[in-house]
Amino acid sequence: MSIVLDVDPAAAAPIWRQIEDGVRRLVASGSLPPGAAVPSVRELARSLRVNPATVSKAYQLLSDAGLLVVRRGEGTFVAELESGARDAERARLLAEGATRLVAVARSMGATKAETNRAVDAAWREFTEGGEGTKDGR
């Protein structure tokens, strides 16, 4: 099975962190449901073309955090999270994104009202874009 994950070696976050965050997002969004198999270290390293030790490190951190479980001889799987834990993970990721947005807004001296308007506009663009009414601007 393949999962949609992308790493950018030039990005600010170390590659193991990008992998860790990517898997966390896929789990929180439900794209990787509880019990689903994740690719082996070898498979993921090959498809991302990164050092297997880096993938191992990310998987290790995710297992330590209880998001993944390793079953000997079978592979690595998404843990059966309680729904509370999954909600907490979603909330955490959303808060992280919001912090990033606020940082951008503040660096430009934007007000809270301005920022909220930008969020509303972006939200509309996404929903309308999904129905094919975006004018491509």
């Binding site: 070696p9 030039a10 600010a12 590659i15 090959r46 073309r49 990164v50 050092n51 940082a103």
Partner: protein, 305 residues
């Protein structure tokens, strides 16, 4: 645990006549490490690699592999080492198939099955003379030859040179698979900084025969970055320039709102922020390529930007 490094260069010096190509170079490649040796053309990379493979006798210093002296114990070293050279050493008329019995005679642990399965995986035709293969196929064939011997050390000399994006990708995939399966120690020289970025554990940057950098890639990337701040009329440029010393500035043009630094630490950033009284808006990681250019760009007055 094996504390002995797989490769060790100690005060290695190589001279050609009066020209010193490698100047007291010391480095170690620990077991399981992927070491990328970077440098501009003529920086001494190839001379260093030739010494450690026992192809060249150093003027001074030592090169050893598996704890064996490279010059005197070359044969023993090569039994456990595979090399993918910059210019292929395969006879131009030989086919992939014809190389198989030859390799089996030379090396008892060389595996024809592993060789064939890699060739097929790559899609390299087995009955085409080497010189008629594409550059990418030639490189894939040499890599298949090398890996079929299950080497403990793999030496790659600019393995992606002249390869297109697809061939580069397939080479890296194969290399990464090998690392995952066998934990092979790798020493590679390369110009493909973007490609090696996700793969190297440790990097060395050579210039003028000496190492400018020898450290884990992650550490190098953590300390080199671009700091951006909110411009403020209240802060004189000289204050910013002075406060940047906490981060070891590499490049800062007064009047701009960013600087490239080579000694980033969280504590240093706090000191910079306090002293310059600026709002820092971002700390961006630099691609290895940019770090490399910053390190080597002006080292010989060659005018690289």
């Amino acid at each position: 645990m094996d504390a002995e490094p797989i490769v060790r260069l100690q005060d290695l010096t190589v001279r050609y006549g009066r020209f010193t190509a490698v100047n007291r170079l010391s480095l170690e490649v620990p077991k399981g490490c992927v070491y990328a040796l970077l440098g501009r053309n003529g920086s001494g990379k190839s001379s260093a690699v030739r010494c450690l493979l026992g192809q060249q006798k150093p003027a001074a210093g030592d090169a050893s592999v598996f704890g064996l002296d490279s010059w005197r114990r070359r044969r023993r070293i090569m039994e456990r080492t595979a090399v993918v050279p910059e210019t292929p050493d395969v006879p131009p008329t030989a086919t992939a198939e014809a190389l198989q019995p030859f390799m089996q005679r030379v090396s008892p642990q060389w595996s024809p099955a592993a060789y064939i399965s890699r060739l097929d995986g790559f899609g390299v035709p087995r009955r085409t003379p080497f010189r008629r293969l594409s550059k990418g196929q030639q490189r894939q064939l040499t890599l298949a030859l090398a890996l079929a011997g299950s080497p403990e050390l793999l030496v790659l000399d600019d393995p992606t040179l002249g390869l297109d994006a697809v061939a580069r990708r397939s080479l890296y995939e194969e290399l990464v698979g090998e690392l995952a399966d066998r934990g092979t120690t790798v020493l590679m020289t390369t110009h493909d900084l973007a490609g090696v970025e996700g793969i190297a554990d440790r990097v060395g940057v050579l210039a003028g025969g000496s190492l400018l950098v020898d450290e884990p890639l992650e550490a190098l990337k953590l300390r080199w970055c671009r700091i951006r701040w909110l411009p403020s009329d209240a802060v004189p440029e000289a204050t910013i320039g002075h406060a940047l010393r906490h981060l070891e500035p590499h490049a800062y043009r007064p009047g701009t709102d960013h600087a490239v630094v080579r000694g980033f630490t969280a504590a240093g950033l706090d000191r910079f922020r306090d002293e310059a009284r600026l709002e820092v808006t971002g700390v961006d990681c630099l691609p290895l390529e940019e770090i490399f250019i910053a390190l080597c760009g002006g080292d010989n007055g060659g005018g690289a930007s």
